[in-house]
C-alpha cells in the first residue's frame, strides 16, 4: 500500500501546488503588467492584493452560467474540461528535484518517470488543442469559430516546429525521459550546446499555448475574445486556468530540457539549499519572462504567425538537427 498512498499524496500535493501557482500567476501577471504600464494592478483585496485570486475564484462560482440558445450543448459543456485536463496531466512527467527522505523513506520528486515523457507532453498538448477548437465550434458564433480555427491551425503548426526542435535534444541525451535528460545536465546545461534550439523551443512553446505575441485566437480587438466569446462563469474560468497551467508547465519543461532542471551549472553546489529551490527559481524567472514579453511585444498578424512557424522555425529546426548530427558524428 505504501506506493499507492505515496502516489496519491504526491499527486495531491502537486495538484494543489499547481492550482495555487495558476491562481497566483494570474496575480503576478496583473501586478507585473500593471507596473510595466505604470499603474498599480490589483491592490484592494488583502495586503498588496494578495487575496485577489481567491476573490476572483469565488466570484466565478457565484456568476450566472449563460448557455446561449443555439449552442451544441454537450460539446459546449465538455470543451472547457477537455482544455483543462490535459493541461494538468502534463505535470505528471515533470521532475521537480532529486529525491528526498521523508520519515525514513526515499521519495522521488516526480509523479512518475515515464520513458516516453517527451512524446507524452507533445501528445497532451495536441489534445489540448481540441478544447479551444471544440469550444469555439460549439458556441455557434462567428468570432468563436474563427478563433477556434485559428487556434487549431496555430497550435498544430507550432507543435510540429516544437517536435522538430526537440529531436536535437533527444539526439544528445539519448532518452525521452525527462528525469534522464535532467540527469545528463549536472555539469553542462543543454542550452550551452543548443542555444538555437532553446530559442526555437521558447517561440514555438509560446505560440502553441497561444500566448502574446501569438494570441491570435483571442485577439480582443478583432475577434472580441475568440473561441471563448460565449463562455461565462466557471466554464470561462476553466479555459483561463488551462491557459495558465500550460504556461507553468511550458516553463517547467523548458527548465528540464534546457536549463538543467534542479541542477546548477558546472556542477556547482550550494550547501543547505535543497535542489528543488533551483528548479522553482528557474521556473519563476521564466514565468516572469513570459509576462515581461507580453508587456513588450505587439501582437503579430495571423499570416505572419503562420509564416514564422512553417517557413522559419521548421527549416531552422531541421538545419539545427542536421548540424547537431554532423558535429556529434565528427566528435564521435
Amino acid at each position: 500500500m505504501d506506493f499507492l498512498i505515496e502516489s496519491v499524496l504526491k499527486v495531491a500535493v502537486v495538484f494543489g501546488v499547481l492550482l495555487g501557482s495558476v491562481a497566483y500567476t494570474t496575480l503576478l501577471e496583473r501586478k507585473f503588467l500593471g507596473r510595466l504600464q505604470v499603474r498599480h494592478g490589483p491592490n484592494r483585496a488583502g495586503p498588496f492584493g494578495l487575496l485577489q485570486p481567491l476573490a476572483d475564484g469565488l466570484k466565478f462560482f457565484f456568476k450566472e452560467d449563460i448557455v446561449p440558445a443555439n449552442v451544441d450543448k454537450p460539446v459546449f459543456i465538455l470543451a472547457p474540461v477537455i482544455a483543462l485536463v490535459p493541461a494538468i496531466c502534463i505535470v505528471a512527467v515533470i521532475p521537480f528535484g532529486d529525491s528526498v527522505t521523508i520519515f525514513g523513506r526515499e521519495v522521488k520528486m516526480h509523479i512518475t518517470d515515464m520513458n516516453v515523457a517527451v512524446l507524452y507532453i507533445l501528445g497532451l498538448s495536441g489534445i489540448g488543442a481540441y478544447g479551444a477548437m471544440l469550444g469555439g465550434w460549439a458556441s455557434n458564433n462567428k468570432y468563436g469559430l474563427i478563433g477556434a480555427m485559428r487556434s487549431g491551425a496555430q497550435t498544430i503548426s507550432y507543435e510540429l516546429a516544437m517536435g522538430m526542435t526537440l529531436v536535437s535534444i533527444i539526439m544528445m541525451s539519448g532518452s525521452l525521459s525527462l528525469t534522464k535528460i535532467v540527469a545528463g545536465q549536472t555539469f553542462y546545461w543543454n542550452i550551452f550546446f543548443q542555444p538555437v534550439a532553446f530559442v526555437l523551443f521558447i517561440i514555438a512553446g509560446l505560440a502553441e499555448i497561444n500566448r502574446t505575441p501569438f494570441d491570435m485566437p483571442e485577439a480582443e480587438a478583432e475577434l472580441a475574445c475568440g473561441f471563448n466569446i460565449e463562455y461565462s462563469s466557471m466554464k470561462f474560468a476553466l479555459f483561463f486556468m488551462a491557459e495558465y497551467a500550460h504556461m507553468i508547465s511550458l516553463a517547467a519543461i523548458t527548465v528540464c530540457l534546457f536549463l538543467g532542471g534542479w541542477n546548477l551549472p558546472f556542477g556547482w553546489e550550494v550547501p543547505f539549499v535543497p535542489k528543488i529551490f533551483w528548479f522553482i527559481a528557474k521556473v519563476f524567472l521564466l514565468i516572469v519572462f513570459f509576462i515581461w514579453e507580453r508587456g513588450t511585444f505587439p501582437r503579430l498578424r495571423y499570416d505572419q504567425i503562420m509564416n514564422l512557424g512553417w517557413k522559419w522555425l521548421m527549416p531552422i529546426a531541421i538545419v539545427n538537427m542536421l548540424v547537431t548530427g554532423v558535429v556529434m558524428t565528427l566528435i564521435g
Binding site: 499527486v11 449563460i66 446561449p68 505528471a92 512518475t112 469559430l145 510540429l160 460565449e230 499570416d303 503562420m306
Partner: protein, 118 residues
C-alpha cells in the same frame, strides 16, 4: 510498468473530477435567470446573420493535412534520435535520405502556396 502509469491515472482522475466538480458546484451556486436576449448569440448587438457554421477556407484543411504528414515524419525521427549514438554514421545517412524525400514534399507544398496566408 504498473508503477509508471497508475500515478498518471490518479492525476487524470483528480483533474477530471476537479473540472467536472467545479462546473457542477458553479451551476448549483450561480443564479439562473435566462432571457431571450441573454441567450442570443453575441454579435455586436445586431441581429445575427445566418448560421455561424459555414464552410471555411480550404487553407485550414491543407495546413491540417500538411501537419498530419510532417507529424508522422517527426515521430519517426524520435526512435532514430534515441538510438543516434549507437547507430552512428550509417544511421545518420539513412536519416538524411528519409529527410530529403520529405523535404521534396515540403518544397512542393511551399511552391503550391499551401503556406501562403493573405
Amino acid at each position: 510498468m504498473l508503477q509508471n502509469f497508475v500515478p498518471v491515472l490518479i492525476l487524470f482522475l483528480f483533474a477530471a473530477a476537479f473540472g467536472l466538480g467545479v462546473l457542477l458546484i458553479s451551476s448549483l451556486l450561480g443564479p439562473k435567470r435566462p432571457t431571450a436576449a441573454k441567450q442570443a448569440t453575441y454579435e455586436c448587438g445586431m441581429d445575427v446573420q445566418p448560421d455561424a457554421r459555414r464552410p471555411l477556407d480550404v487553407k485550414y484543411y491543407l495546413i491540417a493535412m500538411a501537419f498530419l504528414i510532417f507529424d508522422v515524419e517527426v515521430i519517426f525521427l524520435y526512435p532514430w534520435a534515441v538510438q543516434f549514438k549507437s547507430l552512428g554514421l550509417f544511421g545518420f545517412i539513412e536519416m538524411l535520405v528519409f529527410l530529403f524525400i520529405l523535404l521534396v514534399g515540403y518544397a512542393y507544398i511551399w511552391k503550391k502556396g499551401v503556406l501562403e496566408w493573405e
